[in-house]
Symmetry: C2
Amino acid sequence: MIKKLGFIGAGNVAWHLSIVLNKSGLNIVQVISRTLDSAQKLGDKVSAEFSDSLDDMSKEVDLWIIAIPDDAIQTVCKRFPFIPKFAVHTSGSIALEVLEGKAKEIGVFYPLQTFSKQREVNMQEVPFCIEAENRGFFDNLEFLAKQISSKVYPISSKERRELHLAAVFACNFTNAMYTIAEDLLEQKNLDFEILHPLIEETAQKAIDNSPKEMQTGPAIREDDKTINNHLKGLDNQEYQKLYRLMSDIIKQRNKN
Amino acid sequence: MIKKLGFIGAGNVAWHLSIVLNKSGLNIVQVISRTLDSAQKLGDKVSAEFSDSLDDMSKEVDLWIIAIPDDAIQTVCKRFPFIPKFAVHTSGSIALEVLEGKAKEIGVFYPLQTFSKQREVNMQEVPFCIEAENRGFFDNLEFLAKQISSKVYPISSKERRELHLAAVFACNFTNAMYTIAEDLLEQKNLDFEILHPLIEETAQKAIDNSPKEMQTGPAIREDDKTINNHLKGLDNQEYQKLYRLMSDIIKQRNKN
């Protein structure tokens, strides 16, 4: 049984994950982060020891949760002062194998959500993608995830990579679209707020139905007159290029 | 006072608008649509006469609401058998002037939302963009809109065009992003459902904050390793092109 946790990293994911795990009765023993200040902030929050050095890694910890930027995972694991019992990372795009040899049992504990420190997250609704080589360790991780979320999925490294790629379109690029809309309105002194109900309904429609059946707008109607007017209305060349490409993709899909 | 309404068009907008207006006590006198079948369906729904011919336009109607595709508005208005008292169109991208001379008082009554017949819409939350040349008629339209929605804005034709363009990014292109995510997952036999909480939270974050402050993902982190892995993982060339362009736009904005 996993009872005592250690966190490596104190960023958005470590922040939300450790707080929720702590609330559900797990003991967070230690938080280690590159900067002492952020280690202390989170450590204080979850009543854990804190340090800015991997050399301080506590042997009391059962499971280390490595929640740091993708490109730092490999380097950080190499600097473990001993081989701990259990370790997982929380990345969407890094394969399980990166932890090979770095702990006795290794796994992945990937929450498929966008986190910001200043926002509360309803963890019960966050999908957790779980992976481990060892069946017993997998069961342990699944048990842990189910204590904080109702959505737990066994997902291989390959599948996780696909999910992460799809999530970039559904989240990061979608947010960039919102930002462009905000930018266009700000240029004309119009309030972005007027688009809020539309943004909400568009997301809700895609959740309640298949988004491909919910497409509306000039491109799907092949309304080239409106498309050309919109292109003329865009001063920014990148936005023009994007408008053209999106319209082509929407039209093309409609034909297939 | 406007009491008796006529609808030209029986599509998504006419459908939702006439039903809500009818429920709030307005009398829908007549529905005219190109196909008799759709005119009848909506006419029956709101206890109105119906016809497929503009020659049947009833002189009893105070206000005609023209809710038809953008490129049909001008042609249809030219075929009015008489000059009615009041007329508005419901389009986001067509200027008020298109109705000039087609009714004694002309205006725009644009609900800024995405409608599908099969989905209920909470009209109270739909922003209505109102425009009219005549102040008295504007007040009438505003009064009408406030009976069904709590969000009523005076918006000029020029502003409305900007709003509509921004809405294409925030709604149509966003939905296309969801569709690409769905497509990528379907190709790998993964369930799109797993992205639902992410889609919901991404929209909610953009509503509760400014989306430009909420950007996450590999592009804003300048994580070129993940970006290149994602590009390699995309078979579809259009998707590759889009991934590259979106990442460039996100990076560029981050630098400004």
